[in-house]
Symmetry: C3
Subunit: 651 residues, 3 copies
């Protein structure tokens, strides 16, 4: 492929064949060049056990090929047909309460059930055999949004096998799980169960390991299908669409190595931080999972943002800017769920490229405009984003915080990391995300917004980074526990106490609407700490109350490096000020253009600057070079209309 | 019967026989002439399998008869005895989660269980055989508040049978349910299940059909008992008490044809719109279900309004006014649950005609006053209410909205229809409710406050009404889907787009506390739309935001008729203004008397005007004729004290 | 023992043996003299069926003994090991929904399961045999916080047995449960089930009896273990730790007779009334359960108060003052959960005497200071608290209110009683709690803040108290029901109507944020009543609304006694004023020292006055005698610093 992919999920089985022809014509008109087909087609492909109906898909593949649209062909394993549930009731998933779910939605399978795994491999093989050589085929899309878990006996058996592999013997498991607490010591592997509903609080390490187990088990299921597809189509890229949001079903960072192209489904919402900030956040994560290489925005909503209670309709231009933000941050295109809005079914009001009202709509016009714009940016392909700042990201810490009775129920991993990311987004600083154990030496600044659980290896790597001259900014409630979710003793923040030169005796969570004053004039919310600066400079102090005069923010100089610590959730202004100061100390370039998102891409000596004016007023932006969308030369500055975008190439 | 029925549920099995005598004496004193007996008496009538004890009921029937109280005798099938659950555990109901419920409450049966149906028919027959000729018997009251549903295997089998009858073959079912979405295609009837708990969103049409199925299944259960009672007592009226409120368990409009007298249980609450407005709303519904004939308020609470968290005690006089509002709107009387407050059991604080404190209470005095008043209005019997305005009412649309992921979680069928009804109530305009497919030609104005799901036949009937010169007012989110809950394509509001001369491209739901300004000065809440007036006059426009300048309210003239459309939830003042304008266009008479409810009844050339002053101030009301309560002649105007009522006959 | 116990739960099985040595050294340093060992040690003591490992416990017992720390040795029956659940899956508890719980937490047993009871007796016997003669053993601690209930078939069978014993025949049960309501009449004992999930509202008396049954059943389980321990160690005190808070699992007042020393776990929270007021409340309850004898605070949290969402860290000095408040009110010491904060497990952030940060912490220093202070108060041991005021306390009324659909969902037994207790706490008046059927003649004032359910015997006893010259203050919604939770007819407050000289026709619950004005200027919330003073003086009246002019507070003089009634929830000032007036009438001494808690203990002619300054300002307190903490003589007055405590002995 050259240029960007543009298209979306296409579900022709919902429509009459006459519609298919209109679809292809409209796709051509809109500039669509890739369609994800077959994601939920199992019951259409195999309507009864062993009875296959491929005619309709043959026809659709041919039609798309004739229309110049390539196909990202999905294995349909995310939704077995109703007959499968009848034949294999033991493969229906079971909740922690012991409720065996029924079909009638999607994802009604337990990925640990042998019958399901066999059937999934079977349909994947049949599909691959049939379409291995179809000229439309451009990519395999295994399954859909892996993340369905289960507490059934199949899952229990698989969990035990996984635990056996992890711990080797029960003594190590008992130690890791602290089973001496509440008389949970295991003397027989068969006594171990999933964290099903129990009398009172669950064992947090058992719960954490169950999350780890499921991530690995689902990855194994993915790899089974991948192996079949690779065998039959050795050169075809294979991926699966990661689902991201408030839900973190698997450890995407570990999964990324197993896909030929990282692909994410991304649905920023109308809650929490702004949708544009969420867009940048998710896109930076995807790029980081992909190791800096390009990736693909596989699904987004064309026209709406969900706030959990209602849909918010995106304003004119907003869909395009959000798409371009993804592209700027490394996506190889902009894909949508879905091409044509469904008439019925559970998601009938999900927005689509072709809405219920049809082609004569603002939505389809904006889609077509974006389809026309993307080819003008084709030269961006191959360039990369370079970041000087890394934020550490860790699914296991997130899981551990969800599994544990925390000192404050308001501690939320995602919220904390997003709040940190947003400060850099606002400062115009593009950041990478990095694994805690990754080599950080390339970065000028490393931020640890939240890292409850940290391995010894990660703690050492981070310390080495600072000793090597790096700037490190650590947030509260980090370094607390080891990988078994056991508290590191001797004073918080455990793994980082020595590095930061601080010792926390006790936490002081703040009330829901409370705050604590800082001597700098800023305020902290949610959290504070009884902190001693054992070997650090005090940057800011608490004022008033029982923590009066105690350190709130510290900095320990380590050679040319330094390790900063923030013991509370700073308010917006104080957080921005601290980030500004730390950016300065790290000598990181920034581009403060309020309301204008700026991302730079590089290849050879060429730089492309993507400018997205999310604000309601025009902006004058310093720029030099060729603006790719208009084809005009820019000298010194560029006038960017409210809501407009520009891409400037300079050498 | 002549005159009005007055009385309530009477549960003598809770009391010693000495109390029965006091009951009858107090009933006489209070003017009670009808008692509903036996509603939950199964375990008293058949305490062990096949062992019947009718002695107590014989005695009670005789006592009531001697006391001049007629009996509305209930079949006790709404609560099988505990022994029934032991003998037939498969007849206990099962939740969508698979939890099999236990007895110990009421309604612990699955109406699809053969054992239950057989037992219900059996006890009904035994009861009818015994009391067929009892002189106290005035009416049969089958069961109680039909509406209990179940997800068990009996229900699953019956659901399949119903679906088979509805769809004939699986292709039609698959098309109706859009099973192509999420791989739900059925190739075998046995694979179909009730919408039990599943992994994620349920299929909305499956859920809707399950509601339809249960309405029909319960109706079949009712008809089985009715057939037995008719066989044994051919001339006795048979009914069942419809339960109405936020819960709409069955399609009352379809059930109404199967009862000899529409009867409703009506419990206006202390939430949402005022209890008086709820009273009028429910009473108008009941009259409309009854086809304009008289009906019966079978249950109401004597003394309290529930807000879901606590009881609100009705102010002096309020019970009487609410009773009279029901009567004015067609009820053949005012009945209560229950005669005497229970000492124990689950509803021991449910208010009653004889409260815990006994006869020497405000409550019993007000009951007695109402009992004395009603006979004075006996001449109203046989007169009818005539309405010039119809509001469309559709249980299936309500069900469909409850089964579907809507664009806004705040869309609520009942709230929307009640808000519309209230505007007419306030304007002093009595309205009927009508089925969407009904003949509407008799009305000057037809209002469609909300009609998500609409059949082709209904859409055509409504269009014909306008073409015939009618005034039609349609609210947003109407005409969206067909009867399979599939969206009508090509632009909202689907079925009504051409008739209204508008085309909606996309919805713009508003935030919980947001609003949108209109050029008329009014405001919209909850909802707005990207609307084009393709063939309509613009009555009001949106101001500001992305919809700035777009139409908000439109009117399409169709000969002498016209079709109005409102694309947002208008605030109170704007809604009143629009209703006023439309009433004017329709030439509908109104009686604006703030705080005074006015209902007119007609028979021959005589008109009775019922006046209920719900306000805290006296009102001077234009009136001429004989006031029935005082027996005084009214000339020109009537002074109505705060809280007072009057009924004026004029010829 | 002489002096006070000081220590906490000690769970050495969570730590390496090296830590045990440090533990004993730190205990000595902190003044610890009692450790509760083995509470959740079953899986450490019997890691596989029949395989016992006592070596570690032998070692710990010896180490503690050598260190001068006595042992409160627990039977570990509150958490059977995982293998037990495998061998006896029928002994896992089942919820009302029918979900069988899994192990992996604690308390995963049904105390009605024969296998569990047998195993519990077995491990208790083995433990007692081994340590009967160990010199460290000072007390037996049976189980932990009895209160786990279950709805399984074992529980159903035991419930039936209990009901048979209570009622004798089904007629009496049917009458008590009012089963005539909703057709619940039982004709066969086997038809009776626990109040499992059912279709709609449960039978309130069935639910109440299930609570009574479980309290008795758990008591039987306790007594089984007690018998074994008594047999093997006839002279050793035996107790179990009562759990108290918003949860009232058993009838502690009835259990108290079965323990050699009343012991409570007490976790005042950071919600509702202040933690100091909760402390006094719980301590007064414990002393009253102990019949005025000394009792033991077995568990408290060292450093934090929970508000349900987050931990609030106790300010410096607060832990000591709360401990001393318990001691002042009769506790034989101050014990904590737990000694050393766990590294892992479900409660890893539960505060401890030795926190995660270790010994060099404010927490451990304050613990050590308290450990040094307590011996100075040793002479208090043996003295008693004398109260002139009694508040009636009744677990059954609480249960009944939780089992019943009340007229207002805001009626809450604990809140009401705590609000009453607080008024006396603020006035510096120490109160006892008393059973409703207790002999009350020793008190000058008896308060009935809330007593929904009242036996005839209690009603008579209370009436006799007034007739004997006592002052009685009764709150609304008291005397309503009999012990079968059936309403007492004829006018509320049923059992007390005649005594109080009032008759309530109907309740008028108030809206959530509403209030009602009183003629005195005060306000009522939550509740009001349509009250007649049939034979009482009116003390205050309602103003406005439908109750305008009606009595709100009344007083009936009965010889030299009087019976006061309050028909609403008074606001704070009005409540304080009424309490003040009633205290005056009862001639009860008070000590109004705002912010300073005052408790007096007596022995022989000596009085000890414990003074706790909870306020942020110093206070001058009238006092004469020897201050035990400083050892200084006090003459006339004592200056008490903010946050400080003092204990003054005077003769």
């Amino acid at each position: 492929m050259s240029g960007f992919w543009f298209g979306g999920d296409y579900n022709p089985e919902q429509w009459d064949p006459e519609v298919w022809k209109e679809d292809v014509a409209l796709m051509r008109q809109a500039g669509v060049n890739l369609a994800t087909v077959g994601v939920f087609s199992w019951s259409s492909l195999e309507p009864a056990p062993g009875r296959y109906e491929f005619g309709w898909l043959d026809q659709v593949m041919d039609l798309l090929h004739e229309g110049g649209v390539q196909v990202d062909l999905a294995t349909p394993t995310a939704s077995p047909p109703p007959w499968f549930s009848r034949l294999h009731p033991d493969a229906l998933p079971v909740t922690a309460d012991g409720v065996r779910l029924t079909h009638g939605s999607r994802d009604t399978y337990c990925a640990c059930a042998p019958a399901y795994r066999e059937a999934a491999s079977g349909i994947a093989r049949v599909l691959a055999e049939r379409y291995a050589d179809h000229p439309a085929l451009a990519m395999w899309h295994v399954h859909n949004e892996y993340g369905t878990t289960c507490y059934c006996d199949h899952a229990a058996a698989a969990f035990r096998t996984w635990l056996h592999a992890r711990y080797g013997d029960l003594d190590r498991l008992n130690a890791a799980w602290t089973t001496a607490f509440w008389s949970q010591g295991y003397s027989d592997w068969q006594d171990i169960q999933p964290p099903r509903r129990t009398q009172y609080l669950v064992n947090p390490t058992q719960a954490l390991d169950f999350r780890r187990f499921w991530s690995d088990e689902l990855l194994a299921a993915y790899k089974e299908q991948k192996a079949i597809l690779r065998e039959l189509t050795p050169d075809m890229p294979i991926t699966t669409n990661f689902v991201f949001g408030g839900w973190v079903p698997v450890n995407h960072s570990r999964w990324a190595a197993e896909v030929d192209l990282v692909a994410i489904d991304h649905y920023p919402g109308q809650t929490g931080i702004g949708a544009e900030e969420q867009t940048a956040f998710g896109a930076d994560l995807a790029r980081s999972w992909a190791g800096g290489r390009s990736w693909l925005l596989m699904e987004q909503a064309a026209g709406t943002l969900n706030d959990g209670h209602r849909l918010h309709t995106k304003e004119p231009g907003r869909m395009a800017r959000q798409s371009l933000s993804h592209v700027a941050r490394g996506s190889r295109g902009a894909m949508f769920f879905q091409w044509r809005a469904s008439r019925g079914g559970a998601e009938l009001f999900h927005s689509a490229m072709v809405p219920h009202a049809g082609r004569d709509t603002r939505m389809f016009r904006e889609i077509s405009e974006l389809g026309a714009l993307l080819p003008k940016l084709a030269e961006l392909d191959g360039s990369t984003v370079e970041a000087e700042v890394a934020l550490l990201w860790d699914a296991e810490s997130w899981w551990a915080m969800q599994s544990t009775q925390l000192p404050s129920g308001e501690l939320d991993y995602l919220t904390t990391v997003q709040a940190a990311h947003r400060q850099f987004w606002r400062a115009g600083v593009t950041v990478d995300f990095a694994d805690p154990e990754a080599d950080l030496t390339a970065y000028k600044l490393v931020v640890v917004p939240s890292l409850y659980l940290v391995s010894d290896a990660a703690a050492e790597s981070i310390a080495r980074y600072v000793e090597g001259g790096g700037q490190l900014l650590v947030g509260y409630f980090s370094g607390i526990a080891d990988t078994a979710a056991r508290v590191r003793l001797g004073g918080y923040p455990g793994a980082f106490a020595e590095l930061l030169g601080v010792r926390v005796e006790e936490f002081h969570p703040l009330p829901a609407d409370g705050f604590i004053q800082l001597s700098s004039g800023g305020r902290g919310r949610l959290w504070s700490e009884h902190l001693r600066a054992t070997n650090a400079e005090v940057i800011d102090r608490y004022v008033g109350g029982v923590l009066d005069g105690r350190p709130a923010i510290t900095r320990r100089a380590v050679g040319t490096g330094s390790a900063w610590y923030v013991s509370t959730e700073l308010d917006d202004a104080a957080s921005a000020a601290l980030v500004s100061r730390v950016l300065g100390a790290a000598d990181v370039a920034r581009s403060d253009l309020p309301g204008v998102e700026v991302v730079r891409r590089h290849a050879g000596g060429t730089t492309w600057t993507i400018l997205l004016n999310h604000s309601a007023t025009e902006a004058v932006v310093p720029a030099d070079g060729m603006e790719l969308i208009t084809g005009e030369q820019v000298r010194g500055s560029l006038l960017l209309q409210a809501g407009a975008q520009a891409v400037v190439r300079s050498d």
